[in-house]
Symmetry: D3
Subunit: 282 residues, 6 copies
Amino acid sequence: MPDFSSFSHFKVTSPSKYVLHVEVARPQKLNSFAPTTWRQLGDIFNLISSDSRVRAVILSGAGDRAFTSGLDLSPETLALLSGTVKGEEPLEEERLRFYKHRVIKDFQDSISAVEKCRKPVIGLAHGVSYGLAIDILCAADIRICTSTVRFSIKEVDIALAADIGTLQRFPKIVSSQSWFKELAYTAREFGSAEAERHGFVSFVATDKQDAFEKALQLATLIARKSPVAVQGSKHLINYSRDRPVQDGLDYTAAWNSFALGTDIIQAATAAVSKKPIVFGNL
Amino acid sequence: MPDFSSFSHFKVTSPSKYVLHVEVARPQKLNSFAPTTWRQLGDIFNLISSDSRVRAVILSGAGDRAFTSGLDLSPETLALLSGTVKGEEPLEEERLRFYKHRVIKDFQDSISAVEKCRKPVIGLAHGVSYGLAIDILCAADIRICTSTVRFSIKEVDIALAADIGTLQRFPKIVSSQSWFKELAYTAREFGSAEAERHGFVSFVATDKQDAFEKALQLATLIARKSPVAVQGSKHLINYSRDRPVQDGLDYTAAWNSFALGTDIIQAATAAVSKKPIVFGNL
Amino acid sequence: MPDFSSFSHFKVTSPSKYVLHVEVARPQKLNSFAPTTWRQLGDIFNLISSDSRVRAVILSGAGDRAFTSGLDLSPETLALLSGTVKGEEPLEEERLRFYKHRVIKDFQDSISAVEKCRKPVIGLAHGVSYGLAIDILCAADIRICTSTVRFSIKEVDIALAADIGTLQRFPKIVSSQSWFKELAYTAREFGSAEAERHGFVSFVATDKQDAFEKALQLATLIARKSPVAVQGSKHLINYSRDRPVQDGLDYTAAWNSFALGTDIIQAATAAVSKKPIVFGNL
Amino acid sequence: MPDFSSFSHFKVTSPSKYVLHVEVARPQKLNSFAPTTWRQLGDIFNLISSDSRVRAVILSGAGDRAFTSGLDLSPETLALLSGTVKGEEPLEEERLRFYKHRVIKDFQDSISAVEKCRKPVIGLAHGVSYGLAIDILCAADIRICTSTVRFSIKEVDIALAADIGTLQRFPKIVSSQSWFKELAYTAREFGSAEAERHGFVSFVATDKQDAFEKALQLATLIARKSPVAVQGSKHLINYSRDRPVQDGLDYTAAWNSFALGTDIIQAATAAVSKKPIVFGNL
Amino acid sequence: MPDFSSFSHFKVTSPSKYVLHVEVARPQKLNSFAPTTWRQLGDIFNLISSDSRVRAVILSGAGDRAFTSGLDLSPETLALLSGTVKGEEPLEEERLRFYKHRVIKDFQDSISAVEKCRKPVIGLAHGVSYGLAIDILCAADIRICTSTVRFSIKEVDIALAADIGTLQRFPKIVSSQSWFKELAYTAREFGSAEAERHGFVSFVATDKQDAFEKALQLATLIARKSPVAVQGSKHLINYSRDRPVQDGLDYTAAWNSFALGTDIIQAATAAVSKKPIVFGNL
Amino acid sequence: MPDFSSFSHFKVTSPSKYVLHVEVARPQKLNSFAPTTWRQLGDIFNLISSDSRVRAVILSGAGDRAFTSGLDLSPETLALLSGTVKGEEPLEEERLRFYKHRVIKDFQDSISAVEKCRKPVIGLAHGVSYGLAIDILCAADIRICTSTVRFSIKEVDIALAADIGTLQRFPKIVSSQSWFKELAYTAREFGSAEAERHGFVSFVATDKQDAFEKALQLATLIARKSPVAVQGSKHLINYSRDRPVQDGLDYTAAWNSFALGTDIIQAATAAVSKKPIVFGNL
């Protein structure tokens, strides 16, 4: 496993072979995200993406109270967002807005790193899961939650149209646009039952420990499959989501024309011989 | 509130501050749509879109029997659709078809005005909700219905592939394409239970009064949020629905780079002080 | 009805006027697909598409055990997939990969023929419905299954990212991406209850006979509607799925400007007179 | 011909049957565009678009000195652009930016009305043709100019990225992106020779009178063709420009399936009999 | 070489190794296209596309007078276009329009076969090159012409918006939209000088013999290159034309990940050794 | 200016205020690109993109003989491309192809950094400008060359379909697709006259010194304009190139709603006062 010890806002462990567990590790602050937090999130998932020893990732929040409460409204965050640097003259209006544009783009890129990570990511939500929590979970592949989770698309409550992923991804992963728009316009809380009924999560656990066990079981199962097949599937699903069916098929044909190879023969042989099989890293 | 008294087929009232209630007001004709009706629908929502005093809209049908039974097959409608003008020579074949093309486009634009309206629209369906009813409800943001509503994608029963929005929007707002295609090919009725299970509506009320109270409660809640956030969310959701996730993110970044401002500071201050906040119009 | 007797891997019958029943007819091999099977599938649906006497199609698998178990891993299939021709020199590496590219494209086209067929297709799944079964069902319009069906997106178990349609179509026809990705990455089985809850199927029958009766009832109902309306709806739904709402509307306006005609007048007259109506073929 | 006399900033005449000549008629101000001017431009072309008696349009600037020098920087314009209304409190920052957004969109729509007009538009440039002149000419179909015309993509000289059409349309209608970007970044003048060499204009006249005669000859020739064919061509060319070739072909097939009719038979008959033919209006 | 002798409207020869010469062979009818002609055109290019022995194609018209004068307005053509079959009742209006829709789509597909053919196609135009001639030449890769060629986008002269490719492809392959629209709206003739200046053709020959020699020299040169590189280039250029640059890059990366192989090593070795190299077929 | 001294394959200087000159500095190897070279190219342009002190960039090759001859076929390059690492086992076939896929993507990203750089880039070509030279020049904004430059889309000569940008960008920046495809399929050399005639370059200089002076004059002129306007123009042009005109307009309206500000007022004031103006960095 790579060394993640320099990431001060996260704890990264390997609960089983090929599987990483990434925890937002600021429980005393409800795992809220300062600029450092979101940058580290992006950096960690970029690292994982190109580490061939990892095959599945679990993403959760440390502590009992929250996956994340959203943005950390500390002075550091406010200074970043407002573009003020101590001792420097404030930017004039339009340059300040260009500055904000770049902050938003960087923030978006950090969240998108979860989606772009080649390995499947299982998001585990518990406790307070507000605002940014939804953005991040939408960028994960599989979502599970505890029965007592408290979700909210919180942004309109701070007078903001959500701008780092929820408005783009949430409607494409759930079953009811009427329900989604109600949540987006009112910022009301919703719980595990609604989240499951509308497909936002695919498993509701009794508590956080139970949720982690479910996540680990899924991650371990995925990690036993051919990484060529699993990572190819993630890439092709995301590619196809954004395009006409025929474009997805055309790209997939090109992709599999190079990606098909020895793993298939191994898998076929194993199927016949009933012997376990260990695929090479990718 | 603007003056809507000249719209003869509609009744427009303001049940609470910032909220408008638009009713199709032809109950004796099951609120069916003559050409005048659909043009007025478009004009009303275009007006609302640019009226900064409005923040949420409820759209329903007057009377007990129907949201709308669909097209009003009166002589006026038939004359419009067939391109015949009293006392004039009939159009030759291809010019007649050009004429029909323009009628369809105009009709589509009237329905799309509900979707393009900057303010959230809550559609309330009850009784007979056939054909055009589905087209209009699909263009609304949030859908609620009474328990006894009778929905039908009715168009194939008049030998028509639905052409003013249902085939485009319905499949993008519900959860099951298999269910949708069955409805579209058979025109069979479906009720509130199916509509809720598949996400077409997000609330089922016991009766029309109950439905209106739910709608008003939602509209009032939305009207209290920052209109910058709410209207931005509607615009960005609709923009992103039609595009790849990354295109949605890019546009959103540009949008929020001009839309972020004083409302956020007010909202943050209010959150700390626990004092109510009144946002400016937009 | 056209003559389908030359298609050795299929049985095609007409259980009622305008309705065809296409059965994969290799029950002794669990209806698995050899190259001959998939090419015949494509050819049959291309034929049906342009046969004006057909108005609805039921697609199922013969026998009690399986809709289809997926790819038939016979020597014929393996030879095709590996690009080896008896008595000829093997292809050098890159030409072999070009060869594979063409095989994948041809295979995709055979499955897409079900979607491109102008007539609605009702897929009936029972027993083992693995891999290819999902690809084919996704290309159908309406899906029904028996209560004991055993579905699996099986491809990762043979070290393959699914490449003939499932990754493109499945996420666009069901309600939960979290659930879909779990299925795609783990290849675990799922049954009728899950399939119904997430909208993959819209009817669960007690057994295969019951399922067929439901399918036939749907097909017969569809066959009584105007084929101009039904086939237009299928075409316009598929066109609009892949494009922005406005593009779907624009194309639909052009389409209906030529497709509207006498069937509407007949349908309107029949509605008034309450007399049955028989629409012409298309 | 419709009555255009209420448009104070334009002069509209009909130099020959079916042909309109639209002139920006503020020569004393170098035909610069105040808000009234651009709104009238949009209104005029919207009117022309649906007037079946018009088949071709010539667009030019009155007087000897300029097609248009660009924006009229009068107090009226500045007040509109700055969002200040006499006697009212100034808007707070973000609402001011929303206001500006709407001004830009409205301005864009006025220019786009030239492109969306169903009838072909021939743009005639002479003298000073700066900024807005380029935006408008890009929205025309055919461009001709005098030998002494002075073109400039002037916007960067007022610290502005051109936002009403030039950056979108100019690169799609000329031959060299290197040349285009040089013009866009430097705002340098270019003349008729360069404009012709790179395909921006397709005819260079000796003087304005000569240019008008060329334009009139073209317009008259176009007006003699079937309006079904000419207006269909404009619509299909613009539709196809923005889409993949196959999408353009699909839409065109649907379009011509309703647009083909009696004009073709007339045209064929006329071709045999060598007799002149007069097509009906559209 | 495959056997093309059954194609009665064409003559196909092989003027040098790997090169085919396809001639429209109805000189006595100015090589005009009857339905048989365009269907054979599509069939021939589909055959060539999958024949690995062919590496480049020259397409021209037999005789001295015309590449093709366009549609052959014979009774056979008129019967096909009008949907009348001897002895059968005429179709009612809307079914007739569906019929026409299918004829247009089939006709489009025949022309598109030239573009979809995997091998580069060099179009050689001489004499009368009207209407359909432009559609076909646009689907070719490289265009050369004689100095006396007479081009015309002729469709508006028969009251038709061109519907088999010119409106889609021509503007994407030439340098001036102003020039293109003038040609499309007026149907005026243009010659070799204009065609060359605006990039429609890339070589003007003194006469037909000279043109053929130039075409053959080009075809022979192309045929000596690696077919993996040449056919990949054609495919990737056409794919990228219709998509954003980044989509083109992504698809190209997947494509070359399977297409790169032994030819490169051979080419590199040959470059060093200065020895001629013969690439394998594809 | 930032410190570029660590980039061993490049020389970066500042010939005038706000202007950078980036030179490929391996003249003894004809400025051919090793992996180090292309990675440094990407890193340098990423750095420049976010350095607010730079407003325009000139990109050229050091020495008299070549802009660049293309790929440096050194052992380092071959090892990278073939995926062999000294002392490690070779990758099995499909993993090797995944590896190649990542190399191609990384290589593409390095070249695209020139296009994504926020500041305009002027490419200066002289001498041998083969293969990679074309890819890089296509990613620049403005292209100038010496009269004796020797261009070639060289890739097919090494049995390769160009995969790092030429096939995507070149056809979108020049005037004739017929000419482009001839170059792409034959790899023949072309000189400054052809390049200018078809719009690939917009200026031909007598020699390298002359070319540099022209480039510097252009860069200096651009650097004097408002960077808000210039960088906005580059961004909006590239955005709009890949999308329908209306999408470009919509995005531009959002962009300018935040980007408009004080520079315009300064520019307007300066225009009146005729005093020089110095815009702030961006």
